[in-house]
């Protein structure tokens, strides 16, 4: 098998690897097809508002999915992201609404954001510690915080809904510098940074090496344990940011709901994006495309009057199809 592009004259078109092509560019093609379909059939699709709605809805999923991509690239999985979002979302309002800051909003918001994200990162570090130090399978290790984390968030708030109106804080979800939503900027920066890191830095190579073959990576001198600790911490960090964005948009924090089911959405985005779920091969941009595709499918169905429940079934089909296509490429 050569890697010659199929349009070159020496490679007969008969050899064209349909599955390989679809596995590599399928998500992008699907996304383009969806856009074309919507331009043709969905009313008011080509408006700034549609773009805004879709981007703001997909943002938190992408932010979480970036961390998830790195975790999955090491051969792990992080089920606790939704609960970590709830913890960050419960903690921040407790701090910036607390009377000890005596009306000094700027300080209160800064302390709230930093500490919420810090706690989220520590939660991720705890996951990584269980995985790296005790060799507990990631799915079980992160199950602990999945169960306990939401409980912690509910206990912090006594399961009360925290409602607030603090523009200084909500800027992270509602601000529009240069006409762009702040969380979209955060998402783009995170995606760009993670994509660069994964491709160009030693840490990125360590992540892929760990996921490709842990034993070999260790023997080759890769700090496997430290890499694992780092990716789970990053995943927690991303979940923390996403938690803040969600409560900022809602002007409220409900520990029962923030981030509920997020782990599944993020994993789905990663899978559709083309990251190998057993680790060793990952693409951050693919994850972004995957999340956008899932979002756009849902939007397309809803905008054309298909109920949300049916959209779920379609989403399921897309996930299975995307992973199946990648499977064809590997074999």
């Amino acid at each position: 098998m050569t890697d010659a592009p199929p349009w070159r004259s020496d490679g007969a078109l008969a050899n064209f690897d349909v599955f390989g092509f679809l596995a590599r560019y399928g998500t992008l093609i699907a996304l383009l097809l969806l856009v074309v379909f919507n331009l043709a059939f969905t009313r008011n699709f080509a408006t700034l508002q549609t773009l805004n709605v879709n981007l703001t809805q997909v943002c938190t999923i992408v932010i979480v999915a970036v961390g998830m991509t790195l975790v999955i690239a090491t051969g792990g999985i992080d089920l606790s992201v939704g609960s970590i979002m709830a913890i960050a979302g419960a903690l921040a309002p407790l701090i910036f609404l607390s009377p000890i800051f005596d009306g000094n909003v700027a300080v209160a918001v800064a302390v709230a954001m930093v500490s919420a994200i810090l706690v989220a990162t520590l939660c991720g570090l705890f996951n990584g510690w269980l995985v790296a130090q005790f060799r507990i399978q990631p799915i079980v290790a992160t199950l602990v915080l999945f169960i306990a984390g939401r409980g912690i968030a509910q206990a912090l708030t006594n399961s009360n809904l925290q409602v607030f109106r603090v523009p200084e804080f909500q800027w992270i979800g509602l601000g529009r510098p240069l006409g762009l939503p702040v969380q979209v900027i955060i998402m783009v920066v995170l995606v760009a940074f993670a994509a660069w890191m994964l491709r160009r830095t030693r840490f990125g190579r360590s992540i892929l090496a760990t996921g490709g073959n842990e034993r070999a990576a260790e023997l080759a001198g890769v700090a496997v344990n430290r890499t694992k600790l780092a990716v789970y911490a990053i995943s927690g960090f991303c979940a923390g940011i996403a938690g803040l964005v969600v409560i900022a948009i809602n002007s409220a924090s409900d520990a029962n709901l923030v981030g509920l089911g997020m782990e599944l959405d993020a994993i789905a985005a990663v899978a559709v994006g083309g990251t190998l779920l057993v680790g060793g091969r990952a693409t951050i941009v693919g994850t972004l495309l995957g999340a956008l595709t899932i979002q756009l499918v849902r939007y397309t169905l809803l905008a054309n009057g298909v109920p949300d429940a049916a959209a779920l079934i379609v989403k399921a089909g897309i996930i299975a199809l995307a992973v199946w296509l990648q499977q064809q490429r590997r074999t």
């Binding site: 999985i77 089920l79 269980l130 005790f134 060799r135 507990i136 399978q137 799915i139 079980v140 290790a141 199950l143 602990v144 915080l145 999945f146 169960i147 306990a148 984390g149 939401r150 409980g151 912690i152 968030a153 509910q154 206990a155 006594n158 399961s159 520990a255 089911g261 599944l264 994993i267 789905a268 899978a271 779920l277 057993v278 109920p307 949300d308 429940a309 049916a310 959209a311 779920l312 079934i313 989403k315 399921a316 089909g317 996930i319 299975a320 992973v323 199946w324 499977q327």
Partner: protein, 322 residues
């Protein structure tokens, strides 16, 4: 007795000992803990989880995972509630049938399309949930009050609640299948090493398909019980059940890597988590502490943490010996 031996004994009987200790603690501390009412309530409501955990146990022993069980149970409860107007048997058949259908799709996705179990069952989780919502018009579906379907949940078989009797029968059957049939031994072989099993000529694909089918069917049956106990098909129920089932299987000492495990200790794992919940409720009733639902999930998470940490230590010491 050397350390590895202790470890193995603890791995097998640890959960039973913990269960015994917890029950004795409850009996000593709370007046009505072993009252007929409390015991029947606990075993009646945990029957659903027990059924799901049994299916999960088989899937995990075969080296897979089934995330779809929770929404399959929800789908089963809706199907059972819709069909309950035609009688007990159609109601149960609809619920179990819906579960078997999801299980069959899982099995095909894993064996034919060769999609990783985690993702295959994640997608059917979404699809089953969507189907349940569509069938029910997004609200709970009342079961028939006249066809006797409710007896499946609330009835008694002599002194045993019917859901409990169903669960016990399922576990007995599961234990026999695992220990005394070639299918059961093949499940363990496949989980222990799929390639090796294939080379030995074992029907890997068929057995893998069967465990997902069984897991789906049991989840559907759990859905029947859910409908009968709650008097309604509940399309949004079952969220997170898969993780509860995985926790019960892990607490029961079955390793997630597949290839080994026990049906009986899985049941003990379910009862342990259920009893822990019950004890926390009684402790609340004592008034010394007030554990809200939130703290209960924190306690359950911590409990899982302790168990997996112990398991991690034990498996390391046994694997070093072996």
């Amino acid at each position: 007795m050397n350390r590895a031996r202790v470890a193995r004994l603890f791995g097998t009987y640890g959960v039973l000992m913990a269960l015994a200790v917890l029950i004795i603690f409850g009996w000593w501390r709370y007046d009505n803990f072993l009252s007929a009412f409390n015991v029947t309530t606990v075993v009646r409501y945990n029957a659903m989880f027990a059924l799901i955990a049994l299916g999960m146990c088989f899937v995990i022993m075969a080296g897979g995972i089934d995330l779809s069980v929770g929404s399959t149970a929800a789908l089963g409860s809706v199907a059972a509630a819709l069909a309950s107007h035609y009688g007990i048997v159609p109601g149960m058949a609809a619920g179990i049938g819906a579960g078997l259908l999801v299980g069959a799709i899982n099995g095909l996705l894993v064996t034919r399309a060769r999609i990783m179990p985690f993702i295959a069952t994640l997608s059917t989780l979404l699809a089953a949930s969507g189907t349940a919502l569509l069938l029910s018009n997004q609200t709970s579906v009342p079961v028939s009050a006249t066809s006797g379907f409710i007896n499946v949940g609330m009835g008694m078989l002599w002194v045993v609640p019917i859901p409990t009797a169903i669960a016990v029968a399922a576990y007995a059957l599961g234990s026999i299948v695992l220990n005394y049939t070639s299918t059961g031994r093949t499940v363990l072989a496949v989980g222990g090493g799929e390639d090796a099993s294939k080379l030995m000529g074992l029907p890997v694909a068929r057995v893998t398909f069967l465990v997902y089918l069984a897991s789906g069917g049991l989840a559907g049956l759990a859905g029947v019980l859910l409908a009968a106990l709650g008097f309604a098909g509940q399309p949004t129920e079952g969220v997170g059940w898969e993780l509860f089932a995985i926790a019960a299987v892990v607490v029961g000492g079955t390793l997630l890597t597949g290839g080994s495990g026990s049906v009986v200790t899985t049941l003990a794992g379910v009862l342990l988590l259920g009893t822990l919940f019950n004890v926390l409720n009684f402790e609340n009733g004592k008034g010394w502490i007030s554990l809200s639902a939130a703290w209960q999930s924190v306690v359950r998470g911590l409990f899982l943490l302790v168990v997996v940490l112990l398991q991690a230590r034990l498996t390391r010491s046994t694997s070093q010996k072996a």
